[in-house]
Symmetry: C2
Subunit: 337 residues, 2 copies
C-alpha cells in the first residue's frame, strides 16, 4: 500500500472508525484518544493495543493512583482535592506546602501541573473543571525511568533503567543506564514496571517514571503506554529499539533483545529556540561529530517546543554527555561556539 | 508532506518529469533509469545525484571498462566482441575458454551474464542486440566489495572491505569485515574505490565489487552507484548505514562515521522458496534469535527472488554466520530444524 497516511482529529469517532476499517490492529503515539472511542473501536472488532482498560491508567492520573494503591505500588502521598481549602487540608495532613496539583487528564511536559506554596496559589488548577489530584512534593535525588515492553501472549522485556533529567518540567537529557544506580534498586524498578504492566494488562511499551529518594526508595511518578521520551536512546543505543519492540508487541511477534549496544548512551531533546531555521546548525553538528545521531520530527520550530532529539554513545560518559548537550544546545541556539 | 510516493515507469520521461517537479534533488535505488532521461532532468534544472556522466559507468559495462582502463584500474582482461567467432579469437588471445560474456546494459544478479566454454555456446548473448563484453574468467580466491560514499563537496568515507559470497551468481552472504584480509590489501581496495569515485565524479554510495586473486591482487568486477547489497550489513553493523550516508551525500550534508559497531557483522539474503507465506518462519526466527535483524521488502515471494535480508552481529564469527544462515535458510524453507 502506498501513501496510507490519514490526517484527522483523534477526538472524532467517525474519523477514527474510517481509519480503523483498513487496520488489523491499532496503537498510539500519545494517550489522548478518548477512552470511549477506543471502546467503540474494540466493539467494532478492531484490536486496540494497549486496550482502553489498560490505557485509561495513562490517561487519567486519578485512575492511575487508585490502581497503583490497590496493587501496593509505592507512590507519592496523594488524593483528589475539591478546592483550594481542600488543598490546605491535604498539605496539613502531611508535611505542608509545597504541594503538587495535577489535572487528572490532558497534561504533558509540565502542562497541567502546578507547584503551589499556599492555598492562595491553588485556584488555577480548578478552573478547567477537571478533577484535580494533589501530591506531596517528593524530596527526590533524581528521576529514573523503567521501560518495559509486554506482548499479548505475555512475553516481556525490560530495558536498562535510565536517569532522566528535567529542566523546567520538560525532559532535557536521558542517560542509559542510570549512572551509579544500585543494581538491586535497578532490578526492583524493572520488576515494578513488569508487575504494573501485568496487573494493568498493558500491551506494548510501558514507561514508568520514578523518583529515587535519598533513602534509596523508588516512587512512581507517571505512567506512559507508548514509546516514550525516556526510551528514545534505544534507537541508537539498544539492540532493539523501543519503537521496534512496541510494534512487535502490538503485532504479537516475539520481542527483540533490549540490551544496550554501548556502555553509555545519552539522549538530549532538541527544543526550539529563537531561530526558526536550524539548517546551518544541523550541518555544523553533523560535521563536528560524525557519530552523532540527529532525529528531527519535521515540526515547525517554536521556542521551547520539542522538535527533535539527538543520541550519542560511547565508553566515556563525560564525553558522551558533552556531545549530546552540545548538539542539542547548538541546534537550539544556546551554544554558538 | 504525506503520501508523497509516486508509482510509475522509470523509462517514461513524462512520468519522471512530473515526479521531479516536486523534488530538490533526485537519486536512485537501481541504475536502470535511461541516461538520456537523466540528462533531460538535469537540463530541466533538477540536480541528479549521482549525475548521468558518473552513473553511465554503472549502467554500461563497456563504458565502465573503457574508463577503468583509461585511469589504470586493474580489471580482468576484456574487450567488446562482435559475434561467436570473435569470442573464439578473444579466448585465443588469452588463456582460452571458459570466457565470461556480458551484455553491456540491463543485467543484474547473474542475469545478462554467461559463462561460455566454446564458441558454440556463445550465440545467446548476441540475440538481445546489445553490445557484448567478453572477459577472462578470473581464477579468484574470493569476492570482496569496497563500499565508499562521496559528497558533492568532495568529502568521502570508506566502509570496511567485506567478503561477498555468491551462490548461482546471486549474492548469498556478506561478511564485514572480510575475514583474514591483509590490511594492506584492504587499504588498497578502499583507496581504489575512493579514486574511482573521484575520477568518475560519483556522488553518493559507490560499491566496487572485486576479485581477490591467489597472488594477492584485486581486480574490479562491477560498479554500483547506490546503496548496494554488499552494504546492507551497515544497517545494523555500522555507526552510519549506507542508506543514511547515501542520502547525506545526495543532500550534500556532512557524512557520518562508517566504522563498524561490532567485531563481525554478517548479512544473508532471504530468497523466496517453495512457500509463498513466510509468516510462521518469521515468528520462529524472531523467537529463536532475539538479536536477529530481519529486513523484508514487502515483495511477493517467488522461488529464487530476493525478498529480504537478515543481519547478525557479535564477537564470534562462526556463531554470527550460523545465525544469519539459519534465519535466511529457515525463511526460504531450506532449513526446517
Amino acid at each position: 500500500m502506498v501513501g496510507d497516511v490519514v490526517i484527522g482529529d483523534y477526538r472524532d469517532l467517525d474519523t477514527l472508525r474510517a481509519f480503523a476499517r483498513g487496520c488489523d490492529v491499532i496503537t498510539f503515539d500519545h494517550e489522548h484518544v478518548p477512552t470511549e472511542h477506543l471502546r467503540a473501536l474494540e466493539a467494532d472488532g478492531i484490536p486496540v493495543r494497549p486496550g482502553p482498560d489498560a490505557l485509561v491508567h495513562a490517561q487519567d492520573k486519578g485512575v492511575m493512583r487508585a490502581k497503583l494503591d490497590a496493587i501496593d505500588v509505592p507512590c507519592p502521598r496523594h488524593r483528589i482535592v475539591s478546592d483550594p481549602a481542600d488543598v490546605e487540608r491535604f498539605a496539613a495532613e502531611g508535611d505542608g506546602f509545597p504541594v503538587i496539583l495535577k489535572t487528572v487528564r490532558g497534561g504533558y511536559d509540565g502542562k497541567g501541573v502546578w507547584v503551589v506554596r499556599s492555598s492562595k496559589d491553588a485556584a488555577e488548577p480548578f478552573r478547567a473543571g477537571v478533577p484535580v489530584l494533589a501530591e506531596e512534593k517528593v524530596d527526590f535525588v533524581r528521576e529514573l525511568a523503567a521501560n518495559i515492553v509486554r506482548s499479548p501472549h505475555g512475553q516481556a522485556v525490560a530495558y536498562p533503567v535510565v536517569e532522566s533529567i528535567q529542566v523546567d518540567g520538560v525532559c532535557d537529557t536521558v542517560i542509559a543506564p542510570a549512572p551509579g544506580l544500585d543494581s538491586e534498586l535497578a532490578g526492583q524498578a524493572q520488576e515494578l514496571a513488569l508487575r504494573i504492566a501485568q496487573e494493568l494488562g498493558v500491551v506494548g511499551h510501558l514507561a514508568v517514571e520514578l523518583f529515587e529518594t535519598a533513602d534509596g526508595r523508588i516512587l512512581v511518578n507517571e505512567l506512559a503506554m507508548r514509546p516514550h521520551n525516556s526510551g528514545h536512546w534505544t534507537q541508537d543505543g539498544a539492540i532493539t529499539s523501543q519503537f521496534a519492540n512496541h510494534v512487535r508487541a502490538v503485532l504479537d511477534l516475539p520481542l527483540g533483545d533490549p540490551r544496550p549496544r554501548a556502555r553509555w548512551t545519552v539522549m538530549a531533546n532538541v527544543l526550539g529556540g529563537d531561530y526558526p531555521d536550524m539548517y546551518y546548525a544541523y550541518l555544523h553538528c553533523m560535521a563536528r561529530d560524525p557519530q552523532l545521531k540527529i532525529h528531527m520530527y519535521g515540526k515547525d520550530v517554536k521556542p521551547g517546543r520539542k522538535v527533535g532529539h539527538v543520541n550519542t554513545y560511547g565508553d566515556d560518559l563525560a564525553d558522551v554527555r558533552e556531545r549530546a548537550a552540545h548538539a542539542a544546545g547548538y541546534l537550539r541556539g544556546t551554544i554558538t561556539e
